[in-house]
């Protein structure tokens, strides 16, 4: 799929990149520093799970464009420290049979339990995602892994998905998170997790053998409504039925008979040609589904729908139409390359406009991961931190509906939830999150030497608003302890927003 047009586009983007800037070397000298600080913090709030002091330094050194360029090629990012931290989650490297053997679904009386019960598997995957979000160097891929998992949502509390979620995240989502959308779409379509979650494994030609009761439209509908075209993307109920017919027979080898993997069962497939979006799909068994995935992945409605959703994550809850249109053009011009599409946003001037800064509420995962990064936490075990994401309203890997967790502030915030957000700030700065060690003794010397401004700058990467500075300084004058002041920085609008 790598075409000349893509190569040309890539070159054009590279040539258009601003030269690396450094706080002290720009033409404006130190005057450019605060403004550039703010741009780097903004970039790291969106393209990463928030700044760390090391990363701020690195991006100032290399420049924003070079950092984005490096992030687009995660395979080139060596991260042995992360690999070491992930080695405590045994499920991550297992195949389906090994998972069944080591996390058996059985009564303890019937034999050894192996490593643990099956419900431990998604806990490991979520905890590993937390560890990656906090410590991983390939931050942009992790941000987009979170984005795409939510886009192609499955719920890991649903029976067999507890096993399948390992491969889903590891083999389907993460390797394709910055690659070609069509590869990602196909990987999800052929995943045990999705085939189970949206019931396609039950969808069979009426009257065929195999136990199913007939055609199930669930996957076909969500494939177009949620995964590709969008609800207003121009498909009809007739298209849903035709797509469902084309995907009959897409199933998996049952877990009990070995490693559960995708399998196409011709005997369960509805024969004959199908017509989808006015396009004739000739009878061809499994190839019909692949043709439909290609048709959908390259459809202009898909480009618009995905661009809007990506911009909702990276720019604004209600992104401007002009930016949606331009991003959709990039998506189409690159053959649906996610990395280049994302880069075109992150390197645009519009991205850095003041109205798009601090205009989005952090999701629970973003809040927890960014707090652990800001406080320089050492996450040796992500279980407790991951559980907090759930307490804040969006349990990792367990969104129920196929729409995944909401992204917009009006759906994330609630008065009761704010209480939990404030309480979380206290836990984070006082070293009370098990497995995520924070130096809680740090706040006192920071406040003593640099005052509340210095504390805020340390945790936020930049000075906050006058209101926040005044509130912190008033609290300090009233006798608030350093730990309370640090918790208040995490409770401030500057930290709750991004």
């Amino acid at each position: 799929m790598m075409s000349t047009s893509l190569a040309q586009f890539a070159l054009a983007v590279l040539l258009a990149l601003p030269a690396p800037t450094s706080a002290n070397e720009g033409p404006l000298g130190s005057m450019s520093s605060a403004a550039e600080d703010a741009r780097v913090v903004h970039l790291l709030n969106r393209a990463a799970f928030g700044p760390t002091s090391e990363l701020l330094e690195e991006v100032h050194r290399t420049g924003r464009a070079a950092w984005v360029g490096q992030q687009l090629n995660p395979a080139s990012i060596s991260d042995p420290e992360l690999d070491q931290k992930l080695s405590i989650y045994p499920a991550l490297t297992m195949n389906g049979s090994e998972l069944l053997e080591n996390y058996p679904q059985q009564n303890p009386r019937d034999g050894p339990m192996g490593i643990g019960p099956p419900q431990r598997i998604p806990v490991e995957v979520a905890s590993a995602n937390m560890t990656r979000s906090v410590h991983g160097k390939a931050q942009l891929r992790e941000v987009m892994t979170d984005f795409w998992f939510n886009h192609f949502n499955v719920s890991a509390q649903d029976g067999p998905i507890r096993y399948a979620v390992v491969g889903y995240v590891r083999d389907a989502i993460r390797p394709n998170a910055l690659g070609y959308f069509e590869d990602l779409l196909r990987a999800t379509a052929e995943s045990v997790a999705m085939l189970y979650y949206l019931d396609n494994y039950l969808s069979v030609a009426p009257g065929s053998r195999g136990g199913g009761s007939g055609i199930n439209e669930n996957y076909a509908r969500e494939l177009m409504e949620l995964h590709t075209l969008g609800v207003d993307g121009g498909y009809s109920q007739g298209d849903v039925i035709e797509v469902a017919r084309a995907f009959t027979g897409w199933s998996f080898v049952p877990p009990r008979s070995g490693t559960p993997t995708f399998a196409f069962f011709p005997q369960a497939h509805v024969g004959g040609a199908k017509t989808v979006l006015d396009t004739t799909i000739p009878a061809g068994g499994r190839s019909e589904g692949l043709q439909i995935l290609h048709l959908l992945a390259t459809h202009p409605s898909t480009a618009r729908f995905l661009s809007h959703k990506i911009l909702q994550r990276l720019v604004a809850d209600d992104p401007p139409q002009s930016l949606v249109d331009r991003t959709a053009e990039v998506f189409l011009a690159t053959g649906g390359h996610i990395g280049w599409t994302v880069a075109s946003v992150l390197l645009s001037d519009q991205f850095y406009e003041p109205k798009y800064r601090s205009n989005k509420v952090k999701t629970p995962l973003e809040l927890v991961a960014s707090a652990l990064r800001a406080t320089a936490a050492d996450v040796s075990l992500g279980v407790a931190a991951s559980r907090l994401v759930g307490d804040l309203g969006q349990p990792q890997l367990r969104a129920g509906p196929p729409t995944g967790w909401p992204e917009t502030g009006d759906e994330i915030l609630s008065p009761g939830g704010m209480v939990t957000r404030f309480e979380f700030g206290f836990l984070a700065v006082t070293d009370r999150i098990e497995g995520a060690r924070v130096d809680a003794a740090l706040w006192e010397p920071i406040v003593a030497i640099w005052g509340t401004d210095g504390l805020a700058q340390y945790l936020l990467g930049q000075l906050p608003s006058d209101t926040t500075r005044a509130a912190l300084s008033q609290a300090a004058a009233d006798g608030a302890e350093p730990g309370l002041l640090a918790a208040m920085v995490l409770g401030s609008p500057e930290f709750q927003l991004q």
Partner: protein
Amino acid sequence: MLHSTMNRREFVTGSLAAAASLGLGPRFLLRPADAQTTPGRVMVCLFQRGAVDGLNMIVPYGESRYYSLRSSIAIPRPGANGGALDLDGFFGLHPSMSALQPMFDDGELAVIHACGSPDESRSHFDAQEYMETGTPGDKTTDDGWINRHLQTTSPAKPTTLRAVAVTGNVPRALAGSESVYAAASLLDLDLGSGRQGELARAAIEDLYRGRTDLIGRTVGETLDNYEIFTNLGGYTPANGAAYPNGDLGRQLREIAQVLKSNLGVEVAFLEVGGWDTHVNEGGADGQLADLLRTLADAMAAFRIDLGNAMDDVCLMTMSEFGRTAAENGTGGTDHGHGTAMLALGGTVAGGKVYGDWPGLGSSQLYEGRDLDVTTDFRTFFAEVVERHLGNDDIATVFPDFAYGPSNRLALIS
């Protein structure tokens, strides 16, 4: 926030009455301070997550098949050691639920048996989703049935607290465009104790001062609600009511306190887990017995605590499905279909077990294994919404559901 020039602490302590008379008070001052206001009708929903074994909660001791299906976990007939507590000559309460028997006898507690979802799913997740969205079989519904009830009615009084959930997250049943307040504890904001806690609350207010955007408004509501709840102060249950230790007792106690405080709460939601008894369920004693004892003791304490206020309250239980009619090989039961639900309150025509009994014969069981569903859970819920809460718009609360006089249970008087 309305008090832009004044510090909230000074404001609250110093000029509360004056500000209220000028109409300048924050929202919490709208709270009726007197006891004259007549409380409106209230629905309290208790979700038993994990699928309760309805056949051992409300025991069909009159059917001998029950005993042949459950050789080790059946509850003996009334009168026997550890026997069921007779309700109507056919059904009996699990013996550990004795706290509820007087309420059944007094006509305040009703049972709806063989109740559940028309959808065949035995997935906890799907079935809970359906029971909370109120649209079985349809995963595309955005909001919950309780939120749609709020959307289709006006608040009985000005309040920011029409609906509260004593849960960490907003449950699906309450999710939607109407604002609801959900917190694991309504009355406990852990921002540090004493002086540091006061400073924390003051700092939060200062940090968001003057903000009128979404997060500013949300924090404003949080502080107002917090003010309301902290102003409630300590609480001693009335009439000697004794709530059991543990989360369920605490949750119902918090709800009782909030309801008695006249804050305008119309709906409260709480949940309790542990019902997924695949292994060692137990019979008259054991795992399920302990859970049911806590449930019954908590519900009874709530009823006793509320006293006459219970006239306007309907406390209802629900669970996503029931369990297999036969016990399994590990002394438990697996995911089934129909179950039993309870309704307790002054408007409930209690003392009766509602619903057609489908029987436990092999040809009567759903798919040959589970208690069948003869009462759609929406029939029960819709009746509470319509008859107890006075909302006629059932078509919006439960879309695509045929509800009318023909399928009404008439369990709300």
